[in-house]
Amino acid sequence: MIPYVLAVSAVTAILVTTALRSGPMPRPAPLIAMLVLYGLVWLVGDTFVESHVNLSLLGVVLLAAAVILGPPGAALFGVAIAALSRQAGPWWARLFNMAMVGLLASAGGLVYPLVGGRSDIGEVVGAGPLLREVAVPLLVADVVQALLNVALVVGIVRLAQGIPIRLQAKRMILSSGAVYLGYGVLAFVLVVLWLPAGLGPMSILLLLVPLFGAQWALAQYSAQVASQEASLEVLVAAIDTHHPEGSGRSARVGDLAARTAEHLGLGVLEVNDVRRAGRLNGLDQVTAGSGRADGARMLEGLTFLKGAATLLAAPDPAPVGAVVVAAAARFDDLVHRLGMPPAEALAALSPDVPVRVTEALAWSWDRVPAPDLADGEAGS
């Protein structure tokens, strides 16, 4: 990990040096203006589009710096904001993030003129020349920045979390490709407003206004998605309230069923559905008062729990996930409610449950963390 971070930092140092030597230093006024405006961008903050993709005006500003400040200015700007940004985490993570910003800014600054981009565009007018001499080179620099970003992040994620390079690269390109295209278009708007239209720093404020609106909407969206997911907790709390003597059962069954499903090789989404179905397994008891005892019916209309509802209502022959949930729930009742030793409980399941499921259940039970077991026993 650390050698990788040091190597990235070394490459950044080389690129920054090259960019600084590639032309005259920028005038201080635009550089200071961009730094001040970056402060405003930082105040607005990032908004997560999806779990690992975020929308930030920093991406737009980093790209536009290649035109507005030129290669040396872009490198200086990148180094300055890397140095000014305060981050949490271990030193190597902070160093990596700082190196990333410097590297992307320098690379953008170097690529733009290499592919024919003009920096003296104050007098350029007309859609044709502006598209040819600014927009297209800017988009090329954008693509280079995007690819470098993917390459560097894929490397660190592989080393830190062990996620395969190809999988992570595909995930990043699919999820953030459109965002980078948006950065390219917005950077072009920023450049045109700043230089040919003569607005200067005011242009970034003008661009900040609609992006603030977009970030507001995305923040609302993220909060709603989180609330949607948390609705499961309301149902689980209702089950636990209905049967206080079985407190903790929902969590235990969900955890055990998910571990068993994982051991049986079910996919990530299926394991997630199994965990949810396990947690909601006691819903039948809440609805039993109406004489229907049909918890799955309750889940109609809850689209995010559709998979779990399918498992709870599964007919015979039930899919593996449904068998796992039912087996984990019965096993939990035998052990925690009836006080049966685990080995006997597994033996009691055997006639109705396939051997591979009871084996996976036994394997998972052996690996239930001690605190979970203690909590469960305390609640039973």
């Binding site: 859609a127 206004v209 609106g213 969206y221 989180a226 949607q228 309230t241 809440v286 109406s290 004489g291």
Partner: protein, 441 residues
């Protein structure tokens, strides 16, 4: 009791807009024909964006309709100065609203709708105001557009003025829209607060597009227009996603509210009826839009605490149980609902639903207005079982009024009486969810 708001009906708004702007727009017809003949490509591009924008509005979670692309394009036309590659654009103040009205007519012919017509009229008034301020108002022999296009103003000042003008137009639009929203039981002040909180950030986003397009047009030509609409388009996509997931969450809460019905604790549709009634009462009492949603969610989930009971209550009516038991059920319900961070405000309301009004007056118990509304709405539905016949309503109100000032807040009871009174008299029919057999009063 507060005075009842005077409604502005959507139809009336369309008629008034036509009457106000009709003659002026007719005067601008010749001007529009002239501009269209000298700048056919430019006007064609605007027509495309205006009609497209009108046909693809964005519906916010509250149901408000906005047409961000159309609004931004119309405001751009109102502020537009020189366009690279085009002859000088000489245009009177009525040309932008006239073009917008024509495009709205096309869009309404393709996809008619009364609510669409009223929001289109509000938009037209806003654009007309900006066009008049930018092109019609002449100071020292110059209009605003002549001033900025002549290069007399520095770029930052011109863009700041344009931003203010666009915001003024959008303010007119939102105020007119709020007046339309303030029909029925909703108060105008509540509607304006709702407009500013929900549509405000989006409106801000739209306001920047017109200055961007107008300022880029002298160097970029007509291409400036679609380019400046990109940020608005991004915002619109984000808002659409937010609105979609917001609606899904609303359905989720409604589905959660069925738990007590499926468990046999409460009668069918009780929580939905309480939610509808509580929302109407909240609107009438001026509860802000965000709090209205919390009130609706709390009403939908107010009986969730009953799942802690070993045996269901008779008819699921908490009004008939002892105060201590009512509070216990409320506490259990609040505890369950609080597990969702997005429903904490609703949980707080649920926790206070059993507190008698005298505790607010005598012991200074902190019970929000929403909690007092929920208490009365729940009691009314417990007593009527959802039936709205004059006799049942009168009996239920009589029973509630016995506890006036002691158990129930007089202000909320007055709101209830007005709303259900209007319903019974057929003045403001509201769809009520399924009715149950009335319980003994």
């Amino acid at each position: 009791m507060r005075t009842r708001p005077q409604p502005v009906s959507p139809t009336l708004l369309v008629v008034v807009t036509a009457a106000l702007l009709g003659p002026a727009l007719a005067l601008g017809a010749a001007d529009l024909v002239g501009v269209a003949s000298t700048h056919p490509r430019l006007i064609g591009l605007f027509v495309l964006l205006l009609v497209g924008g009108e046909l693809a509005p964005v519906r916010l979670p509250s149901g408000r309709l906005l047409a961000p692309l159309s609004t931004a394009a119309a405001l751009t036309l109102a502020l537009l100065g020189p366009v690279h590659g085009e002859d000088d654009l000489v245009m009177g103040p009525w040309t932008p609203p006239l073009l917008l009205a024509a495009c709205q007519g096309i869009a309404l012919a393709v996809r008619p709708g009364r609510d669409r017509a009223s929001v289109a009229a509000a938009r037209l008034l806003g654009v007309a105001a900006v066009a008049w301020l930018a092109r019609g108002l002449v100071v020292d022999g110059r209009s605003f557009v002549t001033w900025w296009a002549g290069g007399a103003a520095p770029g930052w000042l011109a863009s700041a003025c344009m931003l203010l003008l666009a915001l003024a137009g959008l303010l007119v639009e939102r105020l007119v829209a709020a007046a339309v929203q303030a029909r029925g039981h909703r108060r105008l002040r509540t509607a304006i607060r709702g407009e500013s909180s929900e549509a405000g950030p989006f409106t801000l986003a739209i306001s920047a597009a017109a200055p961007m397009a107008a300022l880029m047009a002298p160097v970029l030509g007509a291409a400036a227009l679609p380019l400046a609409l990109v940020p608005v388009g991004l915002t619109a996509v984000a808002v659409r996603r937010y609105a979609a997931v917001g609606e899904t969450f609303r359905q989720t809460v409604r589905a959660l509210s069925r738990l007590t019905e499926e468990g046999g604790y409460t009668p069918a549709h009780h929580s939905e009826r309480v939610a509808d009634l509580a929302r109407a009462m909240g609107e009438r009492l001026g509860v802000a839009e965000r709090e209205l949603l919390d009130l609706e969610y709390s009403a939908l989930l107010h009986d969730l605490g009953q799942v802690s009971l070993r045996e269901p209550l008779e008819g699921g009516a908490t009004i008939h149980v002892a105060p201590a038991d009512q509070q216990r059920i409320a506490d259990h319900g609040a505890e369950i609902v609080r597990r969702n961070p997005g429903l904490v405000a609703a949980a707080d309301i649920i926790a206070t639903q059993a507190v008698p009004y005298r505790a607010v007056v005598e012991d200074l118990a902190e019970v929000p207005l929403s909690g007092r509304v929920l208490k009365v709405a729940n009691a009314f539905d417990d007593l009527t079982g959802g039936r709205r016949t004059p006799a049942v309503v009168a009996q239920a109100l009589e029973r509630i009024e016995l506890g006036l000032g002691y158990e129930y807040d007089p202000v909320t009871v007055a709101a209830l009486a007005t709303i259900v009174g209007d319903e019974v008299r057929g003045q403001s029919p509201r769809a009520t969810a399924g009715q149950d057999t009335a319980r003994p009063l």
